[in-house]
Symmetry: D2
Subunit: 336 residues, 4 copies
């Protein structure tokens, strides 16, 4: 770490810092600059050093090491492959996940699952527990929804991903589904992260709506540090000043994550754009940018959807998209 | 609500929309503009109308009514006063809350509580459950921390506020403390909001780091809709591109909230600025802008704090601040 | 336009608004909702209606028509093709522009131009007038730089794009170059927009660093309204809270612009990412998302570049990128 | 400056960097950390060092010195007082500027000026050159407007501030007005900054809508470096995701600027909130936070204003505000 002393810091101020650091077991390198003194600090305990930022003579403390270890590519140079039954995330084959925003009925899920299977899509999505902005909105079918998803999985040979929102729903999701989704709103619900870490189930970890890449990786680190390395990251759009799209899809996160981290990363072009006719170009862009997969909202009848209808593809549009994705994947040396 | 048809919408498209709306029991007013047809929709069920946004001929659906009811000033014109023992939030007397970020030891809390009481501050803060970005950071003293806070309360005649982070910690906080804090990261942890709604305890609801004012009020609506009207809103800085401060304190939220909502609102100048020497001016600004109170981090020895030391006032600085706040409060017709 | 009256508006308030509107020649449709009165206003003069937002009984004025006309796809459904000598922007062939950030010397430009030509890239970029954050940074070679660019153009048969920053530099750029670039910082320099409108030269209009899509299209409308329809839009990253990348490349702007506007749009993956090894994936993503071209910074020796070295490709990396782009273009039915 | 080498950097990579730096005349301090090598670089030429960020083995270059000199408090610890006739910005007396957004007519300006003078406000504002988002909006009365402002000044003994938007308008404004305003959209119009630097006239430099504090200070540095130290900074709201207010007023910028810079800073509560009834609380908050003044939009008849009516105070509301400001100023040891 590096401590930048303020311009007005005296020799005594510098001594106070270095004495304290040495007493705490750190090695210290002084660099007397033209205007300011810089102190290089060598040692592993970041927090003790950050604390010095409270001293008046310290202008700033600059951390040099990345705060995450288990998910960092520095310590694990090869890509991690997350296995979900026969499906693998993180190989040259990009994985598509598709299905309705919410489980609304047995019929709706079966129709979606049949279509998804026909198109060669290996994973079905569908929310049974729905975190909704309004307490008056449809909150999901809960366990009944999970049962329907499980039936669809068995009938159509699909893997199933669905969201958990607290300890109780996590227990149920871990029992009935193949991948546990942690939604954007819960990305820093650390108690939930610890609990999903203990399940060992594959986790789809969405980026929080205003999470930095470092915070997102720290959320993954929570899961890994509690025993679960099976993490799939999902970029789903970040909040910016632009209001034409629901959020701003941050595709640059793909090469950044690939550089910093060994986990697979997929893209959600549905929540980020918020409008069905912008989903296909952003899905193609995601694959071209190097994503390991996509999660796409599709509904047999978007105009009747109980949530997120405007951003859902109908099934024929989904089929068209899958075809076009295959060509883009090939162009960047991958398959779908 | 208002439905704006796309410019290319045909008469049949317009008919399809109006027919569907009438069948669902809405009244409909057509307005044929120069370029587009606008459909005014009268009725209470917002979601059914929003769903039409999935139709290709519909350009946008503009909601007119606010999505919140119980917390809206439209339906409750007078200010709500939230009572916490002898302390009232929402009167002309602004309430100060102060104390350390985290409970670290019995001594640290007792020293803080004694000082706070001496300064006439009626509410003590201190975290027993700490949501930390890193899994390797100090996570709080949990129940042991709650016991220390309760002891300080009894000894110094203070009210106590502390954060709950999941169902289990909520049960403990509700038992030991006077006000349950819901932190910024959990503002849209809807299961936690429902649970805190059921406790009936006074709640300090922090604004999420990237929450819009509408989302924040909807979070309050969750708590109210589950039976708990005792809600104190807390603006604590929002995430913007500016990096000099930890977050950007959005003081304009005070007059906006006062216009839209009847609940008290307080300001956290510590987390928003992230630096102790910027806390006092922003605290004064908050009171001048009409805040109903402040929550301030203070520590007997900020350089040894286990979290948030750089933004914590030491106790003499806190005492100075309280004095200066009194003058500002008076200038805007209030007291401290 | 739609006027939403406040919930407390009286019948007299509503009458005051409608009387004024009718006196100004607007048609008015009243919609008496459950809570609020909505007034549909028919007529072309937006500003007169927006002004009513200053009345206390008016809650908000919602514009329905888009504020731009000349650049709107509503009034010009086919794509515009902008011709620059033999090069066309807006056809199925995506156009690549490449070259150094700044013109630094004759040798540097000639080496870049030769390489660019060899790779089949038809347009050379290079800044002669450099808007720099610091007054102490290299400010560009001005007319001398323009002469070097023109020599490279003649020698290698390339088109040349370079930035104008005020009236004087605009006169020079319009004389020596083929495309006038208006940079992000000048996107709302309306006097410059008017002047470039009067030149009639093809314009590359970069999106302002925090410009909404509507503001960007209004900037294009300024140029068009002053007589110049030859506008190429360029998305170059927007400012968000995320700091890992220099800016956040908003690729979703491509389908949004394609829906709203008939002008060609290209992508700048260099300024947005700020790091050379993230340029290639974002360039490929841009093409996959439907961009009509790319503008890429490349330098014979990035480590010696006087500006933006860290985000510049060296020439071998540029050549590799061009090859890979061709495959992606083909996958989405286009060519390079 | 500090160079952080990447984790995979070899000894040869480190040597290459240090050799180059020494050859360029820098002193170099090596710090071999647990994971990475850090190189402390001592010397004044920032740009040469930043350039090394293009080397693959370099992870990041961290500048330590601030990029501004002339406007930095490091080199000029006392507050600067900017004198405009008899008015001083930067003393314990906070200065109020008020008047209409745009000069619309002689009558409108005279009525405003008379009222402003009656209230003891020393500076009149009014735009003669209006940078408008739409080319179809009122663009200002230009020189005719300047003449009206000058007449009002002479008649009522006021100082006058008005905006310049390019070289030509700058010449006129510098001739007719007392303070030249550089608007938010032109904060990085560096050619205009250079020109206003050469005039020597007092400058009101608004913060760009998405400018960081460092960029804002660098814009001031441009003016100072071109010979003009008479700079008044003006915070006017920044662009964030929140849409309830027109922009987000960043009052924390006041203590931050006061720490980094010796120039006076004032607040614009009108443009930032965008709604007249939120102006007064934010004006009071600005003074409480330590602002050296305020610039407030006021209009004899906001509902007829040609621009920004909804955010303009009428004259009685302005008078009320001035009274209340006086009490707040006193509470923080200042006067109005």
């Amino acid at each position: 770490m590096i401590i930048v002393m303020s311009k007005s810091a005296s020799t005594d101020d510098v001594d106070a810092v270095t004495t304290r650091l040495k007493a705490e077991g750190f090695q210290v390198h002084l660099s007397q600059g033209v205007e300011r003194t810089i102190i290089g600090v060598i040692g592993e305990r970041t927090e003790e050093v950050m604390r010095l930022g409270a001293m008046q003579a310290v202008e700033q403390v600059v951390p040099v090491r990345r705060p995450y270890k288990l998910v960092s590519r520095d310590f694990h140079p090869e890509n991690t492959v997350v296995r979900v039954g026969p499906v693998e995330f993180g190989t040259e084959k990009a994985v598509i996940i598709a299905g309705p925003c919410a489980v609304e009925s047995r019929e709706q899920v079966m129709e979606s699952a049949a279509a998804v299977q026909r198109m060669g899509i290996p994973v079905l999505r569908g929310g049974a527990y729905k975190p909704r902005t309004s307490p008056y909105s449809f909150q999901g079918m809960a366990v009944e929804g999970l049962r329907i998803l499980a039936e669809a999985r068995d009938r159509y040979g699909l893997m199933v991903v669905t969201e958990a929102v607290d300890h109780e729903s996590l227990r149920n999701v871990a029992e009935w589904a193949d991948i546990v989704q942690i939604g954007a709103r819960n990305m820093q619900n650390f108690e939930l992260l610890k609990a999903v870490g203990q399940t060992g189930k594959p986790v789809l970890l969405k980026r929080g709506i205003a999470a930095t890449i470092d915070e997102w990786l720290m959320a993954a680190e929570y899961i890994a540090a509690h025993g679960n390395p099976n993490i799939i990251l999902c970029e789903r759009g970040i909040r910016t000043y632009e209001q034409k799209t629901r959020n701003t899809l941050d595709l640059s996160a793909i090469p950044v994550i690939k550089q910093l981290c060994h986990l697979p990363i997929i893209i959600d072009p549905s929540h980020s754009t918020g409008q069905w006719n912008w989903v296909a170009p952003m899905a193609r862009a995601g694959i071209a940018a190097g994503a390991d997969g996509l999660i796409i909202e599709a509904h047999p009848n978007p105009q009747e959807a109980l949530s997120d209808g405007p951003q859902s593809l109908n099934l024929p549009h989904l089929a068209e998209l899958v075809t076009s994705l295959s060509a883009v994947a090939q162009a960047v040396g991958r398959t779908i």
